[in-house]
Symmetry: C2
């Protein structure tokens, strides 16, 4: 009934409904109609805010990345020493919900067919590696190969998150494995 609506916020709501659907029933079941139902709006309104389905998926993927970034940002308390911040960042990744992990895999798999998604994920991955590499340098000095160590740590965190999602390992087991690797890089990796 009213008029002016926050356009970006509405788009965000719709994209978030798409993400929920993707996680719950797979990317293949994300259709305009299902998204509209999930968001409790009409099919026509989805079209009003997104010219095409691809644009909707693009925003959903972007928001999924942003969700991860803000989960990481929320986990690191700024006044901690670098070694603690590094651990907190990796722990945040391990603790990601099933939602973020599943959606991430789904979009990553679409990378081959969608150059825009490819760029999004490539840049996101590079940025994450660079950020972790900086923390590694701060925590360990410049004697270590920071980028290589960052890739190792991010790989371990990702694999632990996957294993946790699949129900293979418990949260505490994941933390132990992460700390095992961290203890190789820096002494005193206690929380």
């Amino acid at each position: 009934m009213p008029k002016r609506v926050d356009h970006d916020a509405r788009r965000g709501e719709i994209a978030r409904a798409a993400l929920r659907l993707c996680v719950r029933e797979g990317l293949a079941s994300v259709t305009i109609g299902r998204v509209a139902a999930e968001a409790s709006i009409s099919k026509g309104l989805v079209q009003h805010y997104f010219p095409t389905k691809e644009a909707l998926l693009q925003l959903a993927a972007t928001m999924q990345r942003r969700d991860i970034e803000s989960a990481v940002a929320a986990a690191v308390h700024l006044d901690e020493p670098p070694r603690t911040a590094l651990r907190q960042v990796l722990l945040a990744l391990v603790n990601l919900g099933t939602e973020q992990i599943l959606a991430g895999h789904a979009f990553l798999a679409s990378t081959a067919a969608n150059p825009q998604l490819h760029r999004l994920y490539r840049e996101g991955s590079s940025a994450a590696t660079a950020a972790v590499a900086r923390l590694v340098t701060e925590a360990c000095g410049s004697a270590v190969a920071a980028e290589a160590e960052a890739r190792i740590l991010l790989g371990v965190a990702g694999a632990l998150a996957d294993a946790r999602m699949l129900g293979e390992i418990s949260h505490s087991a994941a933390v132990e494995i992460l700390d095992l690797q961290l203890s190789r890089l820096i002494a005193d990796s206690a929380s």
Copy 2:
């Protein structure tokens, strides 16, 4: 026109066509009709070999896992010492083609919606971890936490494969990073 046909082989061909499509254009574009066209057969023949689309995807996922297993098996020469075999296994994973990696992510993302796929991937992941853990024990003795180290190594290998697929790092950079981690576990990790 003739009669007796190797049923399993035919099913394999069709599933492989589905995999190619999945890699090239994403899981969402894997439809009965497209698979039939990719395999150069009629839509009806796909139905003749698979009662349902889900059965087709199930076999495709199973074959994708088998492909990875045989790539790994082909990479390890049996008479090598364990430390060399371990490195060869991980290198084989890093060197996986874009196809296997992308399809793996796509199926893993369908895990939430498909309990059968969930079991397939959970069991596959556990088996891989156990196999690598055994190699770790053989190579380093029982003083190390073999399963934890196996998860770390598999995580690193997977992340390197992903980074290579996205075009972030070169093959040689990936090998260097893998060897960096391996050198922590065992002395003399040279090829």
